[in-house]
């Protein structure tokens, strides 16, 4: 029976990719070793579809690969100059909507937002910077939360809820006012039961959640994305969820 089900297929950039019912386009692509850029997707968690970086054209309509269930005979285009330029614009918007000063960020070189920008050959953020006022929360003994760098991917929210069973993080507000909140009356991370060993402390794709006392243990120039593209790193399933900041 399994073999029969396996025979269903979609095509991605002309390549036939098999899938089983219930898999998304992203699941099928990852399993087949076909790279579709993504930031908020991590196969360990329920897909959320909030960064839109995985935008693909499905039978001529743009959709997010991480949330769209694969269906027989779908014709998917992903690796096209048009889609990469849309993706670059999305990444540029993420840069100007936060405060990303990479030379002063401990995640630099290990950061997936930055790595996605490298992959898409982003030379400048292009748009006007918002320079939004955002908080840094250093109240926790082992972890910094720097909202200047949060891209609202909700991976920490999902990890804390689904894996740690704690619900330390949530998202509040709408539109440009959307922001990450911490589940404590004071709103401070130090007043939660968040622990450095939590899954949620390991999944942040950016420098928004940083483990304290790790600073510059690995020098700039020797970090994950200094020599490897995000497309290679995200296709190494065993390594992709290991802590990026150690």
């Amino acid at each position: 029976m399994g073999a029969l089900v396996m025979s269903k297929a979609i095509t991605i950039d002309g390549k036939s990719v098999s899938f089983i019912d219930g898999q998304t386009i992203m699941d099928a692509a990852l399993a087949a070793g076909v790279y579709i850029p993504h930031l908020c997707h991590n196969p360990e968690f329920e897909p959320h579809g909030n960064c839109k970086l995985c935008i693909v054209s499905v039978n001529g309509r743009n959709m997010t690969a991480c949330t769209m269930p694969a269906a027989e005979d779908m014709v998917v285009a992903s690796d096209t100059p048009e889609l990469d330029s849309d993706r670059q614009a999305l990444v540029q918007m993420l840069f100007v909507e936060g405060n990303h000063i990479c030379p002063a960020c401990e995640a630099s070189g290990n950061c997936q937002l930055q790595a996605a920008a490298y992959y898409l050959k982003m030379l400048s953020p292009h748009f006007m910077h918002f320079y939004p006022p955002r908080e840094v929360d250093a109240s926790h003994p082992d972890i910094f939360l720097d909202l200047n760098r949060c891209i609202l991917c909700e991976l920490c929210v999902r990890a804390s809820r689904e894996v740690d069973g704690k619900n330390v993080f949530g998202i509040s507000g709408r539109g440009i006012g959307t922001h990450l909140v911490v589940n404590a009356a004071s709103g401070r991370l130090g007043d939660t039961n968040f622990a450095v060993t939590d899954k949620a402390a390991q999944v942040c794709p950016t420098g928004a959640i940083l483990i304290k006392r790790q600073g510059y243990k690995i020098p700039i120039g020797q970090r994950t994305f200094d020599h490897k593209k995000i497309s290679e790193v995200q296709m190494e399933p065993a390594k992709r969820t290991e802590p990026e900041h150690e």
Partner: protein
């Protein structure tokens, strides 16, 4: 004219740390090759005070005060091709860390709480340019033709970029040459 006209290049540092200029000097003996085909107009190397007509203008640093705007506009008006070099020119960079701190608070922190050589006072000489409330990337003030990221870009990256540009190719950086840090 049998000698090929040299490409005229101007450079300046606005709200930057001169790191990008140091990295340019780091191309070492290739500087001689470079000087075979280019000549400098206004730069910290020549001490020429104003930018004249140039082929290429290279701007390091963001815009943090009124003088930065005057210099930047002079570059834009005189340079056929304007290049933003380094994180500060492209994003505001480290100086933009002050963008969410009130300017008055910054001044008090720097000049009042910890006394300087002249005691505890905020400098207020009419010669000093007016600081802005925020530091801006240069592309938010003038049109920029090329961006060369890095903090600073390495000497090799600068060399690759400049040789592409000077030889009339669209500058192209390999993966390992594109960095924001």
């Amino acid at each position: 004219m049998n000698e090929k006209r040299k490409i005229r290049v101007a450079t300046c540092s606005l709200a930057g740390c001169f790191g990008c200029h140091m990295s340019l000097l780091d191309i070492d003996e290739k500087l001689f090759d470079l000087l075979g085909v280019i000549e400098f107009d206004r730069t910290p190397f020549t001490d020429i005070k104003h930018c004249g007509p140039c082929d290429i203008g290279i701007v390091e640093g963001g815009v943090s005060n009124a003088e930065n705007v005057h210099v930047l506009k002079e570059f834009r008006e005189n340079c056929k091709v304007l290049v933003a070099i380094g994180a500060c020119a492209i994003t505001g960079g480290v100086p933009a860390l002050r963008n969410n701190i009130d300017l008055w608070d910054c001044f008090q922190e720097v000049y009042l709480y910890e006394g300087g050589l002249e005691g505890n006072q905020i400098p207020n000489d009419p010669e000093l340019p007016l600081p802005f409330d925020k530091v801006y990337p240069i592309y938010e003030v003038v049109k920029v033709d090329y961006f060369l990221p890095g903090c600073p870009p390495s000497a090799d990256t600068i060399w690759k970029f400049l040789t592409d540009l000077i030889e009339g190719r669209e500058p192209k950086l390999d993966y390992e040459m594109l960095h924001y840090d």
